[in-house]
């Protein structure tokens, strides 16, 4: 089970949280092509290694934040607030 350190509430167990998919996804301009728009809508970052992702503390403070997590070991490498640039981390793949 993941133990996720919510930046507002501290360390809590996985069932309190909801996964929110990849972080740092930027919506392309409306002038973008169908392919670019489809890529924005459907393509997913899916690395074997460090993944930057959003989590919601649904059964807690109700706030969103970002997590950098290793998708093989599930180790949480960094937790940072929405709007903050992603930290540079070495991939432990």
């Amino acid at each position: 089970m993941l133990q996720i350190p919510c930046p507002y509430c501290g360390v809590r167990d996985e069932p309190e949280f909801t996964f929110g998919g990849p972080a740092h996804v930027t919506r392309p301009p409306l002038s973008s092509s169908d392919a670019e728009w489809a890529s924005y809508l459907f393509d997913r970052t899916n690395p074997k290694g460090v993944h930057h992702e959003r989590w919601l503390h649904a059964y807690g403070c109700g706030r969103w934040f970002n997590v950098a997590r290793n998708t093989i070991s599930h180790e949480i490498l960094a937790v940072y607030r929405m709007g903050v640039q992603k930290p540079e981390l070495e991939s432990h793949e």
Binding site: M1, L2, D13, E14, P15, F19, G21, D34, A35, W37, A38, S39, L41, F42, D43, R44, N46, P47, K48, H51, E53, R69, T71, I72, S73, H74
Partner: protein, 380 residues
């Protein structure tokens, strides 16, 4: 030709390439051992109860191939068409299930609505008045289970007998691509030249696509399953509830096989976490309270490749000579024979087999999604 991935789909692709299309120079490359990935980590369920005609025609063809597979491979895959019952837990769910069951009939596939009394007769141990009462359901009588290892071994032996090479312990590290055309692959055991390559690697599809220079709308997650200690026969249907996220059947060895929803976050770990296991078991015990005394013997997880519309991605890729078969998510086992047959055709003709024309990766840009979220059974 090279097929990457020695699971059911990859081996079936090699089998049909060698047997039907008489290709003599096909190699299956497997990083670990054959059948060690999702082909050995599923719950062996075979069914074709899909909503849209385009899905239904593919999956029912696959079920039809399963019906003749022991004879085709001369290897007993122990197909048991015991029927699969989907449960409804509210009047609203029952209404939409009636529409679903009717759509399946309109697709020419067997399905029948069931009353609670009929469900009780099929599975006497079920508790109809649980936290989520059972108000009805439907059955696909031709659905059932088979022996997953036998499917892998049968296709492997058949492919080998028809001249395919199966190379285990051989990890693909990259592609040789010049002028947007695949020329071969680089592996942990050296380079292999090939002008046609099929990717059939489930949870690792995004990693391999990245090596070839394109991205996929896929998220890799862990999907757990577990078995209890063996019992005398007591459940001879497969039972599934989408509302409480659980499905259950009894294997030929007597074990109660239990599956549920995926652990819903990216994972390449091949193991599931306790919260999902607990909620799955809680759901099963609501339906079958007498199972509470059973001991679990094994629990495991596969890495499933989930697409936004829970429909697979099959066909050509942006790289010429490179073909893809992935996106099966939580339901690839039932599709093994048809997946292999249609991919073999696609590689030989360099165009998608008619049954998989709509499954191409270009459907996302066109907005032509095939949303089979309900037919996928449980949430992910």
């Amino acid at each position: 030709m090279i097929v990457i991935g020695g699971g059911g789909h990859g081996l079936a692709t090699a089998y049909y390439l060698a047997k039907k299309h008489h290709v003599r120079d096909v190699a299956v490359l497997e990083r670990g051992w054959i059948g060690g990935g999702n082909s050995g980590r599923n719950t062996q369920v075979t069914r074709s109860n899909y909503f849209y005609p385009v899905s239904s025609s593919f999956y029912d063809h696959s079920l039809t191939l399963y019906e003749g597979l022991s004879r085709e491979l001369n290897f007993n895959v122990m197909l048991s068409q015991r029927g699969l019952v989907s449960l409804a837990h509210s009047e609203h769910e029952l209404e939409i299930m009636r529409r679903w069951a009717n759509a399946i009939r309109m697709n020419g596939v067997d399905s029948e609505m069931l009353t609670p009394a009929q469900i009780k007769k099929l599975a006497p141990r079920i508790n109809l008045r649980s936290r989520y009462p059972v108000v009805g359901g439907f059955i696909q009588p031709r659905a059932g289970i088979s022996r997953h290892d036998a499917v892998v071994w049968g296709f492997a032996r058949g492919a080998s007998a028809h001249g395919a090479d199966i190379i285990q312990g051989c990890e693909v590290l990259g592609f040789d691509i010049t002028g947007n055309r695949v020329r071969g692959v680089r592996t942990s055991r050296g380079a292999i030249a090939a002008d046609r390559v099929v990717m059939s690697v489930a949870g690792h599809s995004s990693v391999l696509a990245g090596m070839a220079g394109f991205s996929l709308p896929i998220t890799t997650m862990a999907l757990q399953a577990m078995v209890t200690e063996p019992l005398k026969p007591l459940l001879d249907v497969v039972m599934i509830s989408a509302t409480i996220h659980a499905y259950v059947s009894q294997s030929d060895r007597g074990e109660i096989v239990i599956g549920g929803g995926a652990d819903v976050y990216n994972s390449y770990a091949q193991r599931g976490a306790l919260p999902t296991m607990r909620s799955t078991l809680a759901a099963v015990l609501q339906l079958f309270p007498s199972f509470s005394r059973l001991r679990l013997m094994r629990q495991w997880a596969g890495m499933v490749d989930v697409t936004p519309d829970t429909t697979p991605i099959m066909g050509l890729t942006p790289v010429e000579g490179l073909y893809i078969n992935c996106g099966w998510g939580t339901g690839g086992y039932k599709a093994i024979p048809a997946g292999g047959e249609t991919m073999a055709y696609t590689v030989i003709h360099n165009r998608p087999h008619p049954l998989i024309e709509r499954f191409g990766m270009e459907r996302f840009a066109r907005g032509a999604l095939i949303d089979e979220g309900a037919a996928a059974g449980v949430a992910h």
